[in-house]
């Protein structure tokens, strides 16, 4: 005799503590087992791409800040690189170095939020605050440089809005020596905690071919064991000058590509970013950061696709110029948007509690998904 059971439709969000913003997930559950997940997006849609068409090229930069608000520096980075390439601007060395340093610091800060909130999703509150305490130090460095703590508008086409503060080099070095031991602290407190490993190992396994088929990039792809990082594979700016590794998931406590691997790859990436900053900070040449900024930003007719390795994956800007002051079209390939598509595939057959773990490990930012 079989008992007839009914599937329950559970709405998670848009006001829910673990959907990382205003994401609504429609779960079809049988008991506590999830049969289907349908993400509903658009609650944070602000028409970035349409807005960009009405703005001049520099005016678009603040809008890029507001996409992935945890990695604003990197959003600026990709956009200005694209416009510079379109115009054929050669950027001074000093600017290049400062951009890389800012970008990598931003990557650390962004991963801190990802790891901290992931701990929160699993139920550990304290690592979250420890990581935010350390993130505060990076934000102070940014604040010292450009006055803003979240949305910087720092990288301009051809240069930077401000030169670095005289104390910046010293304080950044201090931060590196301060933060290195804290990575170990996070590992002790969270990464190798038995309960944490039980919650995340072998959960939401993403095989590498599925990941490639879905177009997953960034730490999520690398956690599946595929060594692909645009900083190495398609070097932009001056990344080819630095010595750093690309950590990939190895399935240390479970299967390659599970939630734990996605978490741990981010931990290892913070280490590598520290390494890059450490190398770059000693080599900053003298110079003027605004000398190459053109008086009129009016790229010639043409198209460009510029991609950079954002903390969340491949951030691509497709810019069409019609030769006027405004871009004809700015299309963004948002890594969070693409990465989130895998959610249903990963979640089927898992428990409701695992949905939170899987969603957290994909590390989405709703500002970027909805734009």
């Amino acid at each position: 005799m079989s008992i007839k059971t009914e599937e329950l439709v559970l709405n998670m969000g848009p006001q829910h503590p673990s959907t990382h913003g205003v994401l609504r997930l429609e779960l079809q559950i049988e008991g506590e087992v999830v049969r289907k997940v349908t993400p509903h997006i658009g609650y944070l849609h602000r028409c970035f791409e349409k807005h960009a068409e009405a703005m001049t090229y520099p005016q678009v930069i603040p809008y890029t800040d507001r996409m992935d608000y945890l990695a604003s520096m990197y959003n600026n980075f990709g956009y200005v690189l694209g416009v510079e390439k379109l115009m054929g601007i050669e950027v001074p060395e000093r600017v290049q170095y400062i951009r890389v340093i800012m970008g990598e610091l931003q990557r650390i800060a962004s991963h801190m939020v990802a790891l901290g909130t992931y701990g929160l999703d699993i139920g550990a509150f304290t690592p979250f605050l420890y990581l935010f305490r350390d993130r505060e130090k990076i934000l102070s460095l940014f604040e010292m440089t450009c006055g803003a703590r979240l949305l910087y508008n720092y990288m301009w086409v051809g240069g930077l809005s401000h030169d670095i503060h005289p104390d910046f080099v010293r304080l950044t070095k201090e931060f590196i020596t301060y933060f290195r031991p804290n990575i170990k602290e996070i590992n002790d407190l969270l990464t190798f905690n038995k309960i944490f490993v039980d919650r995340t190992a072998n959960i939401g396994i993403l095989p590498v071919d599925t990941a490639i088929n879905y177009g997953i990039t960034g730490p999520n792809l690398r956690a599946s064991g595929f060594k692909f990082d645009l900083r190495k594979n398609d070097p932009y700016s001056i990344y080819d000058r630095f010595d750093f590794d690309i950590p990939v998931g190895e399935g240390m406590v479970g299967t390659v590509g599970d939630c734990w691997d996605r978490f741990y790859v981010r931990v290892l990436e913070m280490e590598q970013s520290l390494k890059i900053v450490e190398q770059a900070i000693d080599q900053i040449p003298e110079g003027d950061v605004q000398s190459a900024i053109p008086k009129r930003i009016k790229p010639p007719v043409g198209t460009i696709y510029q991609r950079v390795e954002n903390p969340r994956g491949e951030l691509g800007y497709f810019i069409i110029s019609d030769g006027t002051l405004n871009p004809f079209r700015v299309k963004v390939r948002a890594p969070s948007f693409v990465n989130m598509m895998i959610l249903d595939e990963l979640s089927r057959g898992h428990l409701v509690a695992d949905i939170v773990a899987i969603l957290g490990s994909i590390d989405i930012v709703l500002g970027e998904i909805d734009r």
């Binding site: 503590p17 699993i122 304290t126 420890y130 305490r133 509690a353």
Partner: protein, 363 residues
């Protein structure tokens, strides 16, 4: 205590009412203190200060919060089952309050001297499950329902290892009673572990016999099992599944607000202290001082019960602190892992432990 009150007021009824409301006063004071302690502990563990604004170092914060809660509008959704919705918080609180009746606060005060004290506590705290299920079902909210289901399954499962451990301790107590039978009265169990911490059950019981040293590792294990399952019974991290805020928003009390929410809150903290007090009573000598009494050495007789009350509170609050400590350190286990821990590990271990303790006690 009863007699003293009866002499003062000259009426048995008034004496009974006052005596039975003493735990209520205790709970209120305790919760005000424990909530502040929780926030301060959390704050200092997380590199911050916790509440600092209301009163000196925020000591009046809980009282301010309490006034905020009673001022709040009591929102009841249209689709709830009103009768059960209103009854649930009362039932949950009643369950945890009733457990206090059999807790020996000191040699002079216990709510009710029933011989089956431990049995009574285990039984009466099951009222909490009924209340939680009622809250989850009547809220007519999917999150509440899931939370309530989890909670009921969890509390019922973890009662088994708890009871097995209690049983093994009762067996040990048989070694020390006059008639050679075990006792279920917490008062008597506390009395056995008198005079020094050496006599605590967690260290194998009173005296210096061989059996004490044989029992010692197993009583320690029993205490660990009790600690783990008591965490699960009061829904604290790492077993705070029913309220898992990152999954189920707030579990079974998602729909509650104002005073009704405060009742759940009160019951949670009252429960925390209740299980801590039971742990203290059956493993750590209950109200007995580990180092002797000031009242005895000074010759002031009435000071002894007060000291006993002090030791009882200190031990209870210490275990409450342990629960908070764990909460702010550990992540949360998943609901199926929770059941695995209980049925595959704790219950078999508790059974083995019970058998070994039984055999050693017989010898």
């Amino acid at each position: 205590m009863h007699q003293l009150l009866e002499e003062i007021f000259g009426s048995e009824l008034i004496a009974i009412i006052i005596a039975s409301s003493l735990p209520l006063i205790f709970i209120t004071v305790l919760v005000i203190f424990a909530v502040l302690l929780e926030r301060k502990v959390a704050g200092h563990m997380q590199d911050r200060l916790g509440p600092m604004r209301v009163g000196y170092h925020g000591i009046l914060q809980t009282i301010a919060d309490f006034f905020k809660l009673i001022q709040k509008e009591d929102i009841v959704a249209d689709t709830t089952d009103k009768r059960f919705f209103n009854l649930a918080p009362v039932l949950v609180f009643a369950g945890s309050y009733a457990a206090y009746a059999a807790l020996p606060f000191s040699s002079a005060y216990i709510g009710s001297r029933i011989d089956l004290g431990l049995f009574y506590i285990v039984a009466i705290s099951s009222l909490v499950v009924a209340g939680i299920l009622m809250a989850g079902w009547s809220s007519n909210n999917k999150y509440s329902l899931l939370g309530a289901m989890r909670s009921a399954a969890q509390i019922v499962s973890y009662e088994i290892p708890t009871v097995l451990v209690i049983l093994s301790m009762v067996m040990i107590s048989a070694n020390f009673t006059v008639d050679g039978k075990g006792t279920l009265s917490l008062m008597e169990i506390s009395e056995i572990q008198t005079s020094s911490f050496w006599n605590w059950f967690v260290l194998g019981g009173a005296g210096f016999s061989l059996s004490k040293f044989l029992l010692l590792p197993f009583t320690m294990a029993a205490f660990l099992i009790f600690l783990i399952s008591s965490l699960a019974e009061v829904n604290r991290t790492p077993f705070d599944m029913p309220e898992a805020e990152s999954e189920l928003v707030a579990g079974y009390h998602t729909e509650y607000s104002g005073m009704k929410f405060a009742m759940f809150f009160l019951a949670e903290y009252a429960n925390m202290f209740a299980v801590s007090a039971i742990a203290a009573a059956i493993f750590f000598g209950g109200y007995q001082s580990p180092i002797g009494y000031l009242g005895n050495s000074l010759g002031i007789e009435w000071l002894v019960p007060i000291e006993q009350f002090f030791w009882f509170s200190v031990k209870g609050v210490f275990f409450v602190f342990v629960q908070m400590w764990l909460r702010w350190t550990l992540p949360r286990v998943r609901v199926d892992q929770l059941m695995t821990i209980c049925w595959k590990y704790l219950i078999p271990y508790a059974f083995v432990n019970l058998t070994i303790i039984g055999i050693i006690s017989l010898i």
